[in-house]
Symmetry: C2
Subunit: 320 residues, 2 copies
């Protein structure tokens, strides 16, 4: 269905349930709160349903008060359900019940793998963030864009493009960002909210992890390690350890960054490459997988043995 068609359906409905995907991120939350504000401006009733608490880093978002915790009693309360940033029905979690109970369901997404699971589907894989689609949709709903809506959509775009740094960033992404700035949005503050939110535990953990740095093959491979002892000492959760592999990748002259994370069952290994090494191929050697520049695998052994096995493979790449 066209976005115009979806706008027409929305205009004729009154009570909306918005469903970001489970373990909602910046795009799914920001596009939901932005759309919620716009729908309310049209006099509609709107609830964003989440199974879990939204990450506290998004508490600054206008419209965040529209988020409600999912309970089964919601099943028959909506005459239109809109799933946002959700590739398939699994990503709706328990809220699949409320989705299935509703006659008019809409699916707005940008994942290539989207299964077109709703009655009406609009999937634009060129959109860097679902917020780009919601930007257009709000225009079609004749709601005047304001600073609050723009703050939500800008946050979505910032998070899904890594601050306009990922290759999904398009001319349209920047066009929308420019218009958003003209609406008076405080980019400095949003960036600070979104990107300056380390927990104390995460910061301590980073300190311990960086002390483990090892370099191989003329610095082209950098290895970092997280042990269970470090997590405990830093009082850190698994979430606190996310993305730390980028410190290894982010060294000048390094092509591959590797994170070895000790778990109850062995070692979780994450690979990141900058340019030319296909780490998905390397991960697949150990039964793992991923993309060319970001992949992972799990090895059922201790850290030292895992490191040796992995470096053996890289020997074939870097030592000719």
């Amino acid at each position: 269905m066209t976005l115009e068609g979806i706008a027409e359906i929305i205009k004729n409905k009154n009570s909306f349930g918005l469903l970001p995907h489970v373990t909602a991120d910046g795009d799914s939350i920001g596009s939901s709160t932005g759309l919620a504000i716009a729908l309310k401006r049209l006099g509609k009733k709107v609830t964003i349903l989440l199974e879990e608490e939204p990450p506290s880093v998004f508490n600054f978002l206008p419209g965040i008060e529209n988020i409600n915790s999912y309970e089964e009693g919601y099943n028959n309360s909506f005459d239109c359900i809109i799933a946002l940033d959700t590739g398939d029905t699994k990503r709706l979690g328990k809220r699949l019940a409320v989705f299935e109970a509703c006659e008019t369901t809409i699916n707005i997404d940008h994942h290539q793998t989207n299964t077109n699971f709703a009655r009406e589907n609009f999937v634009d894989i060129k959109a860097s963030a679902v917020a780009e689609i919601v930007w257009d949709l709000i225009g079609l709903l004749d709601v005047e864009m304001d600073k609050n809506i723009a703050t939500c959509l800008y946050t979505s775009i910032m998070t899904d493009t890594g601050g306009f740094r990922y290759s999904n960033t398009t001319a349209k992404t920047h066009e929308i960002a420019g218009k958003i700035i003209d609406l008076g949005v405080d980019v400095d503050k949003i960036a600070s909210n979104v990107f300056e939110n380390n927990t104390v535990a995460r910061l301590k953990l980073i300190g311990y992890v960086l002390n483990t740095l090892e370099l191989y093959f003329d610095n082209r491979v950098a290895v970092l390690t997280i042990t269970m002892e470090m997590l405990e000492k830093a009082n850190a959760t698994n979430e606190d350890s996310e993305g730390l592999v980028n410190y290894a990748k982010g060294i000048m002259g390094t092509e591959v960054g590797i994170m070895l994370k000790e778990t109850q069952d062995g070692v979780r290994v994450n690979f990141r490459s900058k340019e030319y090494v296909d780490v998905a191929e390397i991960a697949s050697t150990f039964g793992g997988g991923g993309h060319k520049k970001a992949a992972g695998c799990t090895l059922e052994m201790n850290i030292d043995d895992a490191k040796e096995k992995i470096l053996d493979i890289f020997k074939k790449v870097f030592v000719v």
Copy 2:
């Protein structure tokens, strides 16, 4: 003078010396290499003169081969000198000689404090980066924009806006960035080149520094410390320690980040605030200065005494 006027002067000259400011950064280098490529396209002779080696992180820039090391012999070689991103003649360093020896001098800048030191001056303080002005100038010179020029200007904009995160980012900044993406520039690669370039020494230093994290006043103040011993152990330079205060500021719920850096003469203190604390005021208590959200001072004492003195001041801010 108008930018149109400057374009006319440039069209009528043949041999150009481009002068980025001393200790050149991404904007001054990128806007210089971008302009150099465009001028060469017009059949002009162009040299970018630097006193020091340009930072190696910019080696990927097209046009970087136009940079030459300054020697006095250059004094009479140009019929037009263009200073870029240079607020005053002090920022020309020794190259002031070549500037003064030239009859036709042009000053293209965006610093509010620019002293209009050239014969022809174009200063636009709304430009996030000088590259924005150079983008317009190249259009006025009727040179077709291409991927190489765009890569240079995009790098300038990325560095001077912190990746579109600082409040100097405008709708025009995004408009230009969007057009640059349409020219096929690899934003992912540029971001990786510009922002993923930690030295091994810096990464080790970050590890040591994060291990010093202390929190005060319900986590609203975070303090990090760099000792001379850490610098030595990490084999790090002063450059490697730059900006680490942002780790202290970047903690969820923290308002003020403080870095205490041990020097031969005492302690260099850097303050960063997120929203409401005026750290320039606090720095001025100790004879220092800066901006509301970024300031510093020097204390001639040891680290423990400096920390105590500083926390005493914050007690007045946070404990009512």
